[in-house]
Amino acid sequence: MRRPMRVPDHRGREATCVLLPVGMAEVRRWQDLAGQPVRYARRVRATADTHPEALYARYPDPDALARVLITGDPEWDTRAVGRPTGPCARGYVDGDGQPCYAPRWTEIRYDAQGQELARRPVGLRYANLAPTAPPVWSGVLIPRQEVIRRVAFSRAYQVVHQDALQFDFLYDLAQYLQQRNAMVQVGSGRQGRGPLICERHGRPYRGFLDGQVQAEAMRLVLYLAAGELVNREAPP
């Protein structure tokens, strides 16, 4: 997935560039004992209508469910079972196992023992990589040596250009960061330090840009950190 992102720079300019997921460098393939290639596959086993939960909801009486399982095979959808799933989007099923197209998003707060304290409705959490308002340069430069000891980067995207003007923009930014041997925090909000959300209802991340240049080439990487390196049990 190549997502657009509005990237601010130290001179108050911004450009809508492309985030390229940096794939894992290790390439794995599989074969069987005879040396024939083997591939990983996902196939449909049950749908929202044939899943056990849906059947329990439809036939609450166990005897009736047993009878209909023997006579009608409701757990078996011949048009769907065994079909490759292909690329899938995220969806939700309700308590009865039926598709829920408009779930109500709620925040549940817990105490230290894990007991529920309160619930409050929350709105949609939109992706904010390409906001309508121009993003703000946070100005928070953190030495590279220090930032790797503060947070753990669980995602990395290479920021690439869509045209030559964007390349110049990104090259300048990468050079600026390389000269300072630092990463800059990028994010949402008025100060440019808020969390970044890559997909709707996705997890919020802290974003950091790291830049390097080498002759005519540049490498600008957006690192996303879901959490901080904190040991809560450490003695003060």
Binding site: M1, E26, Q31, N231, R232
Partner: protein, 210 residues
């Protein structure tokens, strides 16, 4: 379950107890999707033609060229050239050699897949001093036998010692001629490239974003 990692640094041995970072404390708040009756929804898959596939509704396995199922025990991992990979033993039962200090760029050429909080059962003083100065070390760490050998990095901050299990990623130099176009702004699609890791601070970010 905590792991024990023994490392050798300049002929001195240190014994480290590793606790998975995401199990240290529970999150204090959670965002959930509720249905019309107030019951929690569960994440499902939606196929390209709109069919909802609930959790547990997908069978996963390996298939041969003709579409026949291949049992997991008969599947052999190979490299890109098709050479079978050797099964490497777990590293938890024997001492490992620390390499480094490694440059920052080496760690930044990886993404972190797992964080362990380190309790030093026995820590060499020279190693402790080096870690407190901000040095970072690479060590082989496989909790169980595996065909892949991703490195782990040992580092420290004011809060304590950490071991970061990492996976190498493919960073490339980009020139002006390498133009890439965006796929479009599909906010609903998850990024299949990442298996996210959760740890301390996530709840705080959740609060900031709501």
């Amino acid at each position: 379950m905590p792991f024990v990692l023994e490392v050798d640094y300049h002929d001195a041995r240190s014994v480290l107890l590793l606790t998975p970072g995401d199990r240290v404390s529970p999150r204090r708040s959670r965002r959930v999707a509720l249905d019309a009756q107030g019951r929690p929804c569960r994440t499902a898959w939606q196929t390209w033609d709109g069919m909802a596939v609930p959790p547990g509704g997908v069978a996963q396995g390996y298939e041969g060229p003709a579409g026949t199922t291949v049992p997991r025990a008969e599947v052999v991992a190979t490299d890109a050239a098709g050479h079978p990979l050797r099964l490497l033993p777990a590293t938890t039962s024997r001492p490992q050699r620390l390499e480094g200090p490694v440059p920052v760029d080496e760690l930044l050429a990886h993404v972190i897949t797992k964080v362990y909080i380190v309790t030093a059962h026995q820590l060499d003083s020279a190693l402790r001093q080096s870690l407190l100065q901000g040095d970072c070390y690479r060590v082989a760490f496989r909790p169980r036998a595996s065909t892949s050998a991703p490195p782990a990095f040992l580092l420290a901050n004011a809060s304590g010692l950490f071991l970061l299990q990492a996976a190498p990623c493919r960073l490339e130099w980009v020139t002006q001629a390498q133009v890439v176009l965006a796929d479009g702004n599909d906010d609903d699609a998850d990024d299949p490239a990442w298996e996210d890791w959760l740890m301390e601070g996530t709840a705080m970010l959740e609060e900031e974003s709501s």
